[in-house]
Amino acid sequence: MSAPVLSLQGVCTDIAQYQILHGIDLEVPEGGVYVLLGRNGAGKTTTLRTVMGLWKARAGAVRFRGRDITGLHTSDIARLGVAFVPENMGIFGGLTVEENMRLASKDGTFDARRLAWIQDLFPAMKTFWDKPAWALSGGQKQMLAISRAIIEPRQLILIDEPTKGLAPAIIRAMIDAFREVAADTTILLVEQNFMFASALGRGVSVIDDGRIVHSGTMADLVADKALQTKLLSLSLDAHQ
């Protein structure tokens, strides 16, 4: 088995006086989509933000390809090849779609083939190329956030609840797009939509109250409804 692309060992993170993560242990294997599931307030977003260096871990270690990145500045983590798509998408509304993408490209220029691939994945990115990002719909903004994350080859993409507030038709299109993106990179996906997560995930961890309470394959979790009920207090049927 290959070394994990990302590993967290005993990570504790506080926000103000509150301890949110209570010793997270997590290993994300190379390639495909790895899903982090959990109820609201369980610590999913905090985990991603801690990996990205946006909130600092008080204890424990975050390793990316074996390198300790716990104390690194967010920008240094990004330059190692880690992209982040936050829950609010982080779109720059005053910039055009092109400017949003240009900002994420390494030297301000585009690889024509990669750009064409992205515009095939998300045709709206071509249609609204020179339009301000604030004018895009919610789904298009999410597409832009993901396009921005993949405009350069990344080793790891952290994505926080990409389906939140999106229409079912757009979510289905997202599943196809994520499958294609995950073919040549690793995605750590935080999600509450189990249908979306189970359609994409190879591996899965469940977080509750700032601790990982289950790790395994997505296939096993999908097959075991009792486990789903126990871990997530929800069933696959209820979300289809």
């Binding site: 990004a78 720059f92 910039l95 900002l103």
Partner: protein, 330 residues
């Protein structure tokens, strides 16, 4: 089509200075007085824009409340006055080239001071209090007090006369309208700075980063950029522009005292607030409105002149609490 649609179609808030000018004409009655007041308002607006634009970007980019900004305005004014006094022979010479060199030296010295002092101020005063508004207010006001005492210690408490280069003395006469040359120069300089800033912000990668950082600095860092390093540059440029504005204001007023910075700071804050935080276009719009309204009201209703800009700010905030042209934040 609603009135709001029509308003937006013809330029929206950008039209406000023009609407103000048109409304003022029948009230003033005399075209020559109206032209004189309008040019004076535009010149004053452009100088306030120089002082305000940096402060707006500094707040927009790093959420830093810098009450010490007026120190750069004061130092800029006094340094320019000292340089012009030292170059008195060039200032009063018949040669336009010598006049221009003296003026350039005064503005350059003030701006260079602003640039260097801005770096020091950001590193020593501001950096330790990032993300803490209360401490920012306290420490920058403290720094302002120290700066004002330094000005008193160096230049004394008495008002200082500022020499104006000969080629900017006098007026341009068109028909029965006389327009002060210095005001035309202030308008042109302000316009040139606005165009330069717009080009940097809209046509360069660093400008793209600043615009993005004003909206969401965390995301800019997540894309691999050190926003704090960009911020130092913005702070330095903003301080240099404030000092340049102070230098221009010194020549405009002809007599300066240590209270200059504090007096201007009220107008600068009004401009930043009504223009919209983090927006250069907003700063220009706000500055022009403040300049024009201040001059028209001083002519028409002298007793209201002090209150006019406060009333303008209240009216704008009631109408658009986020300002006239704020940076977009999703």
């Amino acid at each position: 089509m609603t009135a709001s649609d029509v308003f937006n179609r013809f330029g929206g808030v950008n039209l406000l200075p023009v609407i103000l000018m048109i409304l003022a004409l029948p009230l003033i009655g005399s075209v020559s007085s109206w032209v004189t007041l309008t040019v004076a308002g535009l010149a004053m607006g452009m100088m306030i824009f120089l002082m305000a634009s940096g402060l707006s970007l500094v707040f927009g980019l790093m959420d830093v409340l810098n009450f010490g900004h007026s120190a750069f305005i004061s130092f800029g004014a006094f340094i320019a006055a000292s340089v012009l006094a030292a170059l008195a022979a060039w200032v009063s010479a018949d040669s336009v080239i010598l006049n221009a060199l003296a003026l350039f030296a005064a503005i350059a010295a003030a701006s260079l001071f602003g640039l260097l002092a801005g770096w020091f101020f950001e590193r020593v005063i501001v950096q330790p209090v990032y993300r803490d508004h209360l401490r920012q207010i306290l420490i920058t006001i403290g720094a302002l007090i120290v700066a004002e005492q330094l000005i008193l210690a160096i230049w004394g408490g008495a008002p200082i006369a500022v020499a104006r280069p000969s080629f900017l003395e006098g007026s341009v006469i068109i028909g029965d309208v006389a327009i002060e040359t210095y005001r035309i120069f202030a308008c042109l300089l302000g316009l040139a700075v606005f165009v330069a800033l717009s080009l940097v912000l809209n046509r360069t990668r660093i400008g793209l980063l600043i615009r993005a950082g004003v909206e969401n600095r965390e995301m800019v860092e997540a894309l691999g950029f050190r926003i704090d390093r960009i911020f130092v540059g913005v702070f330095m440029a903003g301080s240099a522009l404030a000092a340049m504005g102070g230098a221009m204001w010194a020549g405009y007023q002809g007599l300066i005292s240590g209270a200059l910075g504090g007096e201007m700071m009220i107008l600068v804050f009004i401009v930043v607030i009504i223009g919209g935080l983090g927006s250069i276009e907003g700063s220009l719009l706000g500055a022009l409105l403040v300049g024009l309204l201040g001059n028209y009201v001083a002519f028409l209703f002298p007793k209201l002149s002090l209150a006019s800009n406060m009333l303008l700010m209240m009216a704008v905030l009631l109408w658009r609490p986020w300002g006239l042209r704020p940076a977009v934040k999703l």
